[in-house]
C-alpha cells in the first residue's frame, strides 16, 4: 500500500496548550481523505505541520514516503493547497493570478500557459480571464482560489474548509470539482466541520477532537461503531408515562426522549422499526402527527464518542 501522507505520533504545543496530542494519520494515494472535527480540534494545525508551515515538538511526517521539511521543494512541487481564505492578488486579473501561482512551480512558459488554460476551464472561469478579483462574485472568487491551488497539477491536494461562506450552488460546483480532481488521480485531503460534505466526498474519514484522532474509517464503518442505527421522531400531543414505557418495550429500542410535542425513539439494529412503532400507536389509539426517520450521521458518531456536537 502506497501512502501519500504518513503522520506518526505528532505532538504540537502552543505554550501550555496541547494542539496535537500524539496524533497519527495515514492517507492512501488516490483516496479522498476527510479530516473532520469541530473548530479548534487541530485540523488546520495538522495540515500546517504536514506542509512545514509549522514546526512541531515531536513526531514524524512523510509525504510520498519522504520526510517533509520546509526545504523539500521536490515534494512541494507535487502538493497543492486550497485554503479557507481566498489568497489571490487584488491587483492581478484572473489569468495573471493563476499564472503567477502556477509559475512558482512550473518554469516552462509554454507548459505553464497550457496548465493555466486547463485550470481556468476546470473551474469554469475562462470567460472572466481579464477580470480583477474585485469584479468577481463570491462564488467565482472561490473558483479562482481553487484554480490558483491546482493549476500546477499536484498529486496531493489539501482543501481546508473551501466551502465556508459559499452559496449552495457554488458549494456543489466546488464539491463536484474535487470529485473530478480525484477521478483524474489526485489524492485529496479535505478538512471541514460540515459533516454532510465529508460524507458526500470522502472515502475515509478521520474524526479529530482536542488534537487527537477519535475515530477512523469509511462513513459506514464509523456509523457501525456506534449503538444508534436509526432515530424515529413522532409528533404526539399527549404523551403519557405509560406510552413511553410501551415504546421502550418495542424490540431494538434503547432510548426514548420526549422533546416539546414530539417523541424521539432511538433504535439499535433491527429492521422495519417504523412499522412496529406505528402498529403500537395504532393499537393504543394514539393520535399522532408527522413521523420521520433519520439514519445516523457523523454528528451522531461524534456525539456518541465525545459527548458533544460537532458544531459546538
Amino acid at each position: 500500500m502506497e501512502y501519500a501522507i504518513e503522520v506518526n505520533n505528532l505532538v504540537k504545543r502552543y505554550k501550555d496548550m496541547l494542539a496535537l496530542d500524539h496524533f497519527n494519520m495515514s492517507v492512501k494515494e488516490g483516496e479522498v481523505f476527510g479530516l473532520l472535527g469541530p473548530n479548534g480540534s487541530g485540523k488546520t494545525t495538522t495540515i500546517n505541520c504536514i506542509l512545514s508551515l509549522l514546526s512541531y515538538d515531536k513526531g514524524d511526517i512523510k509525504v510520498f514516503g519522504k520526510k517533509m521539511t520546509s526545504g523539500s521543494y521536490d515534494l512541494k512541487r507535487d502538493i497543492g493547497v486550497v485554503m479557507q481564505n481566498v489568497a489571490v492578488f487584488d491587483e492581478l486579473n484572473v489569468y495573471d493570478n493563476i499564472d503567477y501561482f502556477c509559475g512558482l512551480y512550473i518554469k516552462d512558459k509554454k507548459l505553464r500557459a497550457g496548465y493555466v488554460e486547463e485550470a481556468m476551464e476546470f473551474v469554469d472561469i475562462a470567460d472572466y480571464r481579464k477580470f480583477v478579483p474585485k469584479k468577481l462574485s463570491g462564488g467565482l472568487l472561490r473558483r479562482l482560489n481553487i484554480a490558483c491551488g491546482i493549476a500546477h497539477k499536484p498529486k496531493l491536494i489539501f482543501f481546508d474548509e473551501p466551502t465556508v461562506a459559499v452559496d449552495p450552488q457554488s458549494r456543489n460546483n466546488i464539491l463536484e470539482g474535487i470529485k473530478k480532481l480525484n477521478r483524474e488521480g489526485a489524492t485529496i485531503v479535505y478538512t471541514s466541520h460540515y459533516m454532510e460534505e465529508v460524507e458526500q466526498l470522502c472515502d475515509r474519514i478521520l474524526i479529530m477532537d482536542k488534537g487527537k484522532s477519535v475515530a477512523l474509517g469509511t462513513k459506514e464503518e464509523l456509523k457501525r461503531m456506534i449503538k444508534n442505527t436509526e432515530t424515529i421522531t413522532v409528533e404526539i400531543a399527549d404523551v403519557t408515562e405509560e406510552l413511553l414505557t410501551s415504546i421502550k418495550a418495542v424490540p431494538h429500542v434503547y432510548d426514548v426522549v420526549m422533546r416539546d410535542e414530539s417523541v424521539k425513539v432511538y433504535f439499535s439494529g433491527g429492521s422495519h422499526n417504523i412499522i412496529r412503532l406505528m402498529e403500537l400507536l395504532k393499537d393504543r389509539d394514539i393520535t399522532y402527527g408527522r413521523v420521520y426517520t433519520e439514519l445516523p450521521t457523523l454528528n451522531d458518531v461524534f456525539l456518541e464518542i465525545t459527548g458533544k456536537e460537532l458544531r459546538d
Binding site: 502552543y14 488546520t44 494545525t45 500546517n48 506542509l51 512545514s52 508551515l53 509549522l54 514546526s55 526545504g71 521543494y73 521536490d74 512541494k76 512541487r77 502538493i79 493547497v81 485554503m83 481564505n85 481566498v86 489568497a87 489571490v88 492578488f89 487584488d90 491587483e91 492581478l92 495573471d96 503567477y100 501561482f101 509559475g103 512558482l104 512551480y105 518554469k107 480583477v132 490558483c148 491551488g149
Partner: protein, 377 residues
C-alpha cells in the same frame, strides 16, 4: 523563477494605483505646487531689471539729476536696470494705466505715482527717497558751510563700500532648492509602503497570500530578492521621472547628475528597507503597519527640515548623531553637499551610511521573518 516574481511584482505595483499615486503623482504634484508658489522667487530672469519709469518734467532742475541717477544704476553685467523716459503728465499717466511703466516720477517735488505696490516700485521708491535725503543734506551744507561741501561729498563717496558676491563653489546654492530636495527625500521614504505590503504578504502567519507562497516550490529568499529588486527598479524609475519633471520645471540641481541619480537610487534602497522592517513586525495588521510607516516617515522628514525649517539645525546643535543616522536628513544632506561642495567627501559619507543602514534593516528583517514560529494560520 526570479524574473517570474520580478515581473509580477512590477505588475502588482503598477496596477496598485494607490502606491503609484504616493510615489509618483504626489511628489510631482507637490513639486508643481511648490514651483507655482515660489516660481517668481526662483526665476532668475525675472529679477530687478528693465524697470521702466516715466519722468514728468516740472520747473526744477531735478529732472536732469533724476534722469542721470536712474540711468546710472547698472546691473552686474553693466546693463541698465531702470529705464527713465521723459514724458508730459498726460502721457505718463496713460503709460502707467497701460502698464507700460511701473511708476510716474514728478521732478518738482520728486513724488511718485504707482498703480500697485511690488518689489519694483518699492526699489524705485527707496532710490528716490535716498536721492531726496542726500540732496536735502547737500543743500543744507551748501547753505550753512559751503567750504565743507566738497570735503563731505568726497568723504561720502570714499566711505561707500561696494560688496560683491564671489562664488566659492561651482554648485547651485539656491536656498529654494532645499524644498525640492525635501520632496525627493519624502518620496524615497514613501517607497516603504510598497515593501511593507510585500513583506507582509510573504509571511505565512499573517497573510493567506504569504501562506500560499510559503508552501510553493519556490524558496522564500528567491521571492524576497526578486520582489525587492522589482520594487527598487520601479521606485528608482519613479524618482528619475520626478527628477526629469523637476528639471523641466526649471529647478537647478547643478551639474552633478550622476551623483544625484546615485542619491535617488540609495534613497529608494533605504525607503524600501524601512518598509521591509516595518512589514516584518509580528502581531500587527497591515493597517497598523501602514500607520507606523506614515508616522516614521513623517517624523524623520520633519526632523530633516522637510516640514519645519530650522529643526535640523537645532538637532545638529543638541544631538547631531540623529542627523548622522536619520535617512531623510542624510538624503537631503546628499543633495545639499552636491550643491555646495566641490568635493565628494561628505556626500560619500552620507551614501555609505545610507547603504549600511539599508543592509542592516533588511538583515534584521530577514532574521525576524525567519524566526517566526507561526502561532496559527
Amino acid at each position: 523563477m526570479f524574473f517570474h516574481n520580478f515581473k509580477y511584482c512590477i505588475k502588482t505595483i503598477i496596477n496598485g494605483k494607490v502606491t503609484l499615486f504616493w510615489t509618483l503623482i504626489f511628489p510631482i504634484a507637490l513639486a508643481t505646487f511648490m514651483y507655482m508658489a515660489m516660481g517668481n522667487l526662483m526665476e532668475k530672469g525675472e529679477m530687478f531689471k528693465d524697470v521702466k519709469v516715466a519722468l514728468v518734467e516740472q520747473e526744477t532742475d531735478n529732472s536732469l539729476m533724476l534722469n542721470t541717477l536712474f540711468s546710472s544704476i547698472k546691473g552686474e553685467n553693466g546693463e541698465a536696470l531702470i529705464e527713465p523716459e521723459v514724458m508730459d503728465e498726460q502721457e505718463a499717466q496713460d503709460a502707467l494705466n497701460n502698464d507700460e511703466v511701473c511708476a510716474v516720477i514728478y521732478s518738482g517735488d520728486c513724488h511718485m505715482d504707482t498703480r500697485d505696490e511690488n518689489y519694483k516700485t518699492s526699489t524705485v521708491k527707496n532710490i528716490l527717497d535716498q536721492y531726496l535725503q542726500n540732496s536735502y543734506m547737500y543743500k543744507k551744507i551748501a547753505e550753512d558751510d559751503p567750504d565743507k561741501l566738497s570735503e563731505i561729498m568726497g568723504s561720502m563717496l570714499w566711505d561707500t563700500v561696494f560688496y560683491t558676491e564671489e562664488a566659492t563653489t561651482d554648485g547651485s546654492q539656491d536656498q529654494y532648492n532645499n524644498y525640492f530636495f525635501a520632496i525627493f527625500a519624502m518620496s524615497c521614504l514613501f517607497a516603504s509602503f510598497s515593501s511593507l505590503y510585500t513583506t507582509h504578504n510573504i509571511q505565512g502567519n499573517v497573510s493567506a497570500l504569504g501562506m500560499r507562497r510559503n508552501i510553493s516550490a519556490t524558496g522564500k529568499l528567491m521571492i524576497v530578492c526578486a520582489e525587492y529588486a522589482a520594487m527598487l527598479f520601479i521606485h528608482f524609475v519613479v524618482e528619475l521621472i520626478t527628477l526629469l519633471y523637476m528639471t523641466f520645471l526649471g529647478v537647478d540641481f547643478g551639474h552633478k547628475y550622476p551623483a544625484i541619480i546615485l542619491t535617488l537610487f540609495v534613497g529608494c534602497m533605504i525607503g524600501l528597507a524601512m518598509g521591509v522592517i516595518i512589514g516584518s513586525i509580528r502581531n500587527i495588521g497591515v493597517g497598523g503597519k501602514i500607520g507606523i510607516a506614515v508616522g516614521v516617515s513623517m517624523a524623520l522628514s520633519v526632523m530633516a527640515d522637510l516640514c519645519v525649517s530650522g529643526l535640523k539645525n537645532m538637532i545638529e546643535m543638541k544631538c547631531p548623531v540623529i542627523n548622522r543616522i536619520n535617512p531623510a536628513a542624510l538624503i537631503t544632506d546628499c543633495f545639499y553637499t552636491l550643491n555646495v561642495y566641490d568635493n565628494y567627501n561628505r556626500f560619500t559619507k552620507d551614501i555609505v551610511t545610507l547603504v549600511i543602514e539599508s543592509v542592516l534593516l533588511v538583515a534584521v528583517s530577514i532574521l525576524i521573518v525567519r524566526r517566526n514560529k507561526y502561532a496559527s494560520v
